[in-house]
């Protein structure tokens, strides 16, 4: 009996140790991202001193705010082994719905709420379709992205304005959401901070988040542990839709104009940020902090490259290369460090 306990204890201890390694690994990737961010700042700063103007740096968060927010939501989806290509079209749809109801009702709060709801509905639809068909989410959300962007285009026609002029004339209070500042710090930073905390708690500190990881890691096992996969999947896509809607409405506030094609360019860069932040496309891994850091890294990389007069053709090549080299570097670093650790362990073992 005692022996059994002891064995159990040892097992527990081992598991704890494993958990620590996982934690350390994750932590180290985030530190690497911070390191890269510093390197980026140092390089760009030395090439063009204007890059380090704090005010400009703070304000340029507004330029990639929508990418970062969508990437936070995408991290939850990817962690659960899914993907959401339609997040860009949801941005366009929610922005048009907000604009549409602003034109029709002149009540900006109602319009914003309806815009948010449209995102949730769109996301829920994605979730339901994925469950019904059991087809890969990539295909479902590709199809729904056509549907949503098409609906947005059609709706913008109904809003009285022709689709090409966009919907504008939003009240100052609404425009202030993204363009204003509190305590001299631009609102986008506050918004990003708050949403990061919310998503961090959601994914890393709640049962919901843990279940998402479990579904992503091993859906079969998750089924047997009694997790309501169906419900969670729908919730997850609804949250992603909400994230898209928030990003879309913030874009409207930033540009003071609602267009059906807002966010159309977002999906690939959003996925890039989530994956660069440590999410595994096969599910089971993902980190909100990592995604935030990766979004900052990519956002400031683009900003910095432009500041030092690299044209966007070249920026593309740079971005691709940085992405590949970073991830490849991470792989080789892992291989080297495990090799080293193994050797050390063998040495220690031989000594005793």
């Amino acid at each position: 009996m005692k022996k059994h306990y002891a064995a159990n204890y040892m097992n527990e201890k081992k598991r704890f140790k494993n958990l620590n390694i996982v934690k350390r690994k994750l932590f180290s990737w985030q530190t690497t991202l911070i390191g890269l961010l510093i390197v980026e700042f140092v390089i760009f700063g030395s090439l063009n001193s204007r890059f380090l103007n704090i005010i400009n740096l703070m304000y340029s968060v507004g330029d990639f705010l929508y990418i970062a927010i969508a990437a936070l939501a995408m991290t939850c989806i990817i962690a659960a082994g899914g993907i959401d290509i339609s997040i860009g079209s949801i941005m366009g749809l929610s922005s048009i719905i907000t604009g549409f109801f602003w034109v029709k009702t002149s009540n900006i709060i109602l319009a914003t709420i309806l815009g948010l709801i449209s995102g949730v509905v769109a996301g829920t639809l994605n979730g339901i379709l994925i469950l019904i068909t059991q087809v890969n989410p990539l295909v479902i959300t590709l199809g729904s992205s056509f549907l949503f962007s098409g609906l947005a285009l059609t709706l913008s026609g109904f809003a009285g304005s022709t689709g090409f002029e966009g919907i504008s004339g939003f009240p100052d209070s609404f425009v202030y959401i993204v363009n204003g500042s509190i305590f001299n710090i631009p609102n986008p930073i506050w918004i990003l901070l708050i949403l990061t905390i919310i998503f961090y708690i959601l994914l890393h500190k709640t049962k919901f988040g843990r279940y998402l990881f479990l579904i992503g890691m091993n859906p079969e096992a998750a089924k047997y542990t009694g997790i309501e996969i169906k419900k969670l999947t729908i919730y997850n896509y609804a949250i992603s839709g909400l994230g898209g809607a928030i990003a879309g409405i913030l874009l409207v506030s930033y540009f003071t104009s609602a267009r059906s094609d807002l966010g159309a360019d977002a999906p690939l860069i959003v996925i890039t940020c989530a994956v660069l932040g440590g999410a595994s496309i096969y599910g089971g891994e993902g980190s909100i902090i990592g995604t935030l850091l990766a979004s900052l890294l990519v956002g400031y990389l683009k900003y910095g490259l432009q500041m030092i007069n690299i044209t966007s053709h070249q920026t593309n090549v740079f971005l691709g290369l940085v992405l590949i080299l970073t991830i490849s570097g991470r792989y080789f670093w892992d291989v080297l460090s495990t090799n080293y650790k193994n050797k050390e362990a063998v040495k220690r073992f031989k000594k005793t």
């Binding site: 063009n48 204007r50 022709t162 966009g166 104009s257 267009r259 094609d261 683009k302 432009q306 500041m307």
Partner: protein, 350 residues
Amino acid sequence: MKKLSIIILSILLVLVLITSINAQEKFKIAFLPKIIGNTFFEVAGANAIKMGEQLGVDVMYDGPTEASVAEQVKFINTFVNQGYDAIVVSALDPKGLNQALKRAMDRGVKIVTWDSDVDPNYRTFYVNQGTPDILGRLLVQMVTNQLGTWHGKLKVAFHYSSPTVTDQNSWVEYAKKIIAEEYPDWEIVTIQYSDMDFPKAVSVGEQLLKTYPDVNAIICPDSTAFPGQAKAVENLNMIGKVIVVGFTTPSTIKQYIERNTVLQGGLWDCGVQGAAGVYVAYQLLKGEKIEVGTSFEIPGIIGEFNVVPNKLQGGEMYENPEVADRTDNGIVLLPERLVFTRYNIDKYNF
């Protein structure tokens, strides 16, 4: 962790301290297209840079790789942060750039638009290829030119990029108005879009010809839809059976004119437009007056540039009493629009 943050902060501080403000000798002008990697904008950009060299100013040509308002706003913000003195922009959205342009103007940056305009409150002058009235009429005229003395019923279709693109839609609106008022016998059978995607333009073009087999003329005011539609006519062996007109660069449409698929195509000299944008920005920076109601010439370019009031463009944005008749804020019209035929197409090298 604390240590790390202290190190970061000190590195940042040192770098900030090192910064020294460069003494400015030359004006810096940013020339921002809707999208890079499109012949139209590349030609304008190349000529803008050439004009910059002529005037002794630095001109930077760069822009988004995808037609995205968000990307364009990013470029404007960064240009401002880089300390450019003027931005010459072809706007992807007439209102979506407002906040970014306002921030720029607040910092003393001069804004000139070209090709596609924004709200006049957020720029000083707009170098315009022609009011929608002129260009809509040009589209209709290219069709009537090919009808000769024939009058009567005509089935017309439009095929361009998308319902969200401002300028193309405004020309089509006017073309439709002109058709309704002056050619009541004409019938508009359909309007199709191909999203600036070449294979899609060919596919949509073919479908259009098959779905509406009795269509007589197709008007394509888009640089992709136009050659795509021409290709579709060739694919279905319908050369000579349907009139195809539209706007695109002469180099793109040349092969179709040579094969008689297309008899007339139009555009304006986008090179001149790019150069004029830089020239106007330079005049503003120097403090030279450009006044509405007058005209001016640009060295090295043939023709007179008329400066007209905003209200001529038509529409809510321009008829706003604040800007409609201002003298220091208006529209600079290009001297001429071009029509390419097999007789003159070799003259143009863009």
